[in-house]
């Protein structure tokens, strides 16, 4: 069995040279997690499709995307999320090449702060829209908007909670194999949310104001 494993790879951070055992354990775990992400992406695909339909046909005399969307905060949010993906990348590198807990924790905390900034700004945007009378109950378009963007926001928030749990585990258990493979899975999850957000920024915001 080991012979097969030695040649197999998994998409994700390869721990092979520094920690072959974790690498081996990660092989099937990460594969499973990619399959999970695939079903999660089906979720977003459906929400995008629903938004495409309802943002056109579900306006119902209320505000259109062009009336109420602007780019300022979403752009800041994009930057926060993109940078947080980068810092997560640095955390992953610290885990692989340095076995350096302080550095790893530092980058994870930075990632957390950026992610929390993203969620905070999004919540601010949402409450702002609702207070102006553009809540999800206004029209089919706004229902679809809040569902799509909100589902992404909930994903980021659960990523944040997951990150907190893993930070605790880094201190409780140290960098053992479980903690490492969990960090790898969270990393993939985090990057996927980035990709989804780029879709949202493009199709909801850029197309919306255009």
């Amino acid at each position: 069995m080991n012979k097969i494993r030695k040649y197999s790879r998994h998409p994700g951070l390869n721990m092979g040279s520094t920690d072959p055992e974790t690498h081996e354990a990660a092989e099937t775990l990460l594969f499973g997690f990619w399959v999970f992400l695939m079903s999660d992406l089906v979720l977003f695909a459906l929400l995008f499709a629903d938004y495409a339909a309802q943002s056109q046909h579900g306006v119902a005399g209320g505000p259109t995307p062009g009336d109420i969307l602007d780019l300022k905060n979403p752009f800041i949010e994009t930057m926060l999320l993109l940078v947080s993906s980068f810092t997560f990348g640095l955390a992953a590198l610290a885990m692989k090449y340095r076995q350096d807990r302080t550095r790893l924790v530092f980058w994870l905390v930075v990632t957390f702060a950026l992610g929390a900034g993203f969620v905070g700004l999004e919540v601010y945007d949402f409450t702002d829209m609702i207070s102006k009378g553009h809540g999800p109950q206004t029209s089919g378009f706004l229902s679809a908007f809040f569902l799509l963007v909100g589902t992404h926001g909930i994903h980021v928030s659960s990523g944040l909670i997951w990150l907190l749990v893993l930070l605790v585990q880094v201190f409780v258990f140290g960098l053992n194999r479980n903690v490492k493979t969990r960090l790898m899975r969270l990393a993939i999850f985090w990057h996927m949310l980035d990709v989804v957000w780029i879709g949202i920024f493009t199709f909801v915001y850029l197309f919306g104001v255009a």
């Binding site: 089906v42 579900g58 999800p136 809040f146």
Partner: protein, 695 residues
């Protein structure tokens, strides 16, 4: 349903009217009496189970050996038990529906229309989500890891959690029988009828949460099975050496990964409409029910292939095993299965030809639908050719399989008829359609699951089921099916619409009487299966198959004792051929001791799954009745459980090599003492699970 709530903060919308028997006491009539009977049966069943567990002192065993177990075989058996209990309820409901429709020609009939609406909604929902799905998932759990030479599925705890979520959904549906009322929106729950404006009661919410829980469980199951098949096949088991049942399990799992999500999304969006005033599917303010229809059938059509493909897998194994021949056209069967899996995503629109698409679009989807007949036809020919020149043995499983082949072809033909949009315009939503899909689901899915139950029962429990009672049930089910559903084709063509609680055309009556008699025969078939189980358990000492191979099986699951050890294989076998175990028997490598044994790591039991089952059932109940404190508390508790579990470090235990050796060698010695049975004596007590090898 409009009664004053007891106490909105603590008990939400629950009121005196939602309590059981209140309706019957206030106004005893035939309608409320049937309701009271159902409630009494549900409460009695639950109490009876608890009393039995207490009397026999089995709580401990139940908890340690079953509820907390992470063994895929046990999880599979629990899925199957769940499916059978739900089958019992749904078939009885079907009997009541048939009775109502027969007695409601030009008169109201015994049941109120809303009650009839609840019956077809629970019947359909249960049959699909809580009978067919758990049954096939259960069989896959038991058989697939054994067939591919794995010790377990890849994620055992996730497997238990999937069962927990499905079971929580089933619990919710059972509770709806006792407290309050269920939805009247059918198994498909179409808005705007199911929107708050038209359906303010708790019924639709019961439906939403039961279905949502089970759909999440099924998504996780799909992921788990697919990863298991990709990554855990025994050495030497290349893709094209994988038994066909495992192939269908793989294709079904892949469909689940992609197709369950649209359902989850649709039900959650409907929930947002109902609970938070969103406008996805409402009539006003930009909502559009077509969004729901598309999402639902984007799930719904693949779903019918989720439930049929594993049955195809079972039939393939049965035809080849009981013809004593290698499966004919294995590659074509594999490609046909994959083709069906792909096509299943390209036809969903045929469920709403009549709902406003252009003629061109309808034509395209009509053609795509008919195309599915091609790979399915290929399969039928392969099965026929498997039997040609085989030594066919007509066991119960084989009888069900042959009946499937004949009957399924008829159902397929009516499906091709329905795939013509102009024809569909004439018979859409009529009893013709009801006849068609039962003609696929009963001989296809249900008979497939029965065949699986008959074939693999000895593997699960170590003794065979009574053939006599199996045959009786077979004849009852088969004749019952024809009597109950063929008249519906005629009725549909005469204009009888589905979901009707009352008729105004006296010409329907004779057909409805025949259909009712068919339903009675089906009930007799089900009853004989209950008797069969009872008789077989009573006589188990005469039907034991300690050798583990009662049917001269061809794949790896027959190569170990029955029931198999927790770790399935003492040593993971090397696979040389598509019929791996037949190869071993012919080459004399079956029942041999390996040179050395290794320690085996298995997952420890865990209380996480039963805890999640209880919490998510509470969550669904709280949401249904708007009990917000419980909603928040149980939601947090579910995630707290998951997080707490991630802090557990010792989740595996090691079974030492010495113990594995001892157990395995003890079994090998006992096999030596058995007398190999020729196939003529397969169904007699001479069959001790060791097959005569004919070289």
């Amino acid at each position: 349903m409009t009664g004053q709530p007891f106490d909105y903060f603590w008990l939400g919308k629950l009121s005196i009217d939602s309590l059981p028997f209140v309706e019957f006491i206030r106004d005893p009539n035939s309608n409320t009496a049937v309701g009271a009977f159902a409630k009494a049966a549900a409460i009695g069943g639950a109490m009876g189970l608890m009393v039995l567990l207490t009397v026999f002192g089995k709580w401990r065993v139940f908890w340690h050996e079953w509820l907390t177990s992470l063994d895929a075989k046990k999880i599979g058996i629990m899925y199957i038990v769940l499916a059978m209990v739900m089958l019992l309820r749904a078939v009885i409901e079907a009997g009541f529906m048939r009775a109502q429709q027969m007695l409601a020609v030009e008169q109201p009939g015994p049941l109120a229309p809303e009650h009839f609406g609840e019956l077809f909604s629970t019947h359909g929902t249960i049959m699909i989500f809580f009978m067919a799905m758990p049954f096939l998932i259960g069989i896959i759990n038991v058989v697939m890891p054994l067939q591919i030479g794995a010790r377990d599925v890849k994620f055992p705890l996730l497997n238990a959690i999937s069962l927990a979520l499905t079971a929580a959904g089933a619990v919710l549906i059972m509770i709806s029988l006792v407290i309050g009322k269920f939805s009247t929106g059918g198994w498909s729950g179409y808005p705007p009828f199911t929107e708050l404006a038209f359906n303010p009661g708790a019924g639709v919410d019961y439906w939403i949460w039961a279905v949502t829980l089970s759909s999440i469980g099924n998504t996780l199951t799909g992921i788990n099975f697919a990863v298991t098949i990709y990554k855990l096949r025994a050495p030497g088991m290349t893709w094209f050496r994988m038994p066909l049942f495992s192939w269908t399990a793989l294709c079904t799992s892949i469909i689940m990964i992609f197709a369950m999500m649209p359902l989850t999304v649709a039900t959650l969006m409907l929930a947002l409409d109902r609970y938070a005033g969103f406008h996805f599917f409402t009539n006003a303010l930009g909502g559009n029910m077509m969004n729901y229809t598309n999402l639902f059938w984007l799930f719904g059509h693949p779903e019918v292939y989720i439930v049929i493909l594993p049955a195809f897998g079972v039939f393939s194994e049965v035809f080849s095993t009981f013809s004593g021949k290698r499966l004919y056209g294995y590659h074509s069967l594999v490609f046909a299965t994959m083709a069906i899996a792909v096509l299943s995503f390209c036809v969903w629109l045929h469920h709403f030809f009549t709902m406003g698409e252009t003629a061109d679009l309808n034509a395209a989807f009509g053609i795509a639908t008919m195309l599915i007949g091609v790979p399915t036809g290929v399969k039928v020919y392969d099965w026929l050719l498997t039997m040609v020149r085989g030594r066919v043995r007509l066991t119960t499983a084989m009888l069900f399989s042959i009946m499937f082949m004949v009957t399924f072809v008829i159902g397929g033909l009516t499906g091709v008829i329905l795939a013509n949009p102009p024809v569909d315009f004439a018979v859409h939503n009529s009893l013709f359609l009801v006849a068609h899909f039962h003609n696929m689901l009963i001989p296809g899915t249900l008979f497939g699951m029965f065949a699986a139950y008959y074939v693999w029962f000895p593997k699960m429990f170590g003794f065979r089921l009574s053939e006599k009672w199996g045959r009786i049930s077979f004849w009852c089910w088969s004749f019952g099916f024809y009597l109950a559903f063929m008249p519906l084709y005629a009725l549909g063509l005469m204009g009888a619409m589905r979901r009707s609680a009352q008729w105004f055309d006296p010409q329907y009556l004779p057909w409805l009487v025949v259909a009712f008699c068919g339903a009675l025969l089906i009930l007799a078939g089900l009853a004989s299966q209950v008797v069969q189980l009872w008789v077989s358990i009573r006589d188990r000492d005469t039907t034991r198959v300690p050798g583990g191979d009662p049917w001269d099986g061809r794949s790896l699951e027959w190569s170990m004792s029955a029931p198999p050890p927790e770790y399935n294989f003492a040593v993971i076998p090397q696979v040389h051929d598509r019929d791996a175990f037949t190869w071993m028997k012919k080459n004399g490598t079956s029942y041999t001791a390996p040179e050395h044994y290794e320690d085996i790591k298995m997952p420890k039991n865990s209380i996480v799954a039963p805890v999640i089952c209880a919490l998510t059932a509470a969550l669904g109940f709280a949401l249904t009745w708007h009990i917000w404190w419980l909603t928040i508390a149980s939601f947090i508790a579910v995630w707290a459980t998951v997080i707490a579990r991630s802090f557990c470090q010792n989740t595996e235990e090691t079974i030492p090599a010495s113990q594995v050796r001892e157990e395995h060698e003890r079994w090998l010695r006992s096999v030596k003492a058995l007398k190999p049975a020729p196939r003529e004596h397969e169904t007699t007590s001479a069959n001790q699970g060791l097959a005569e090898v004919v070289v």
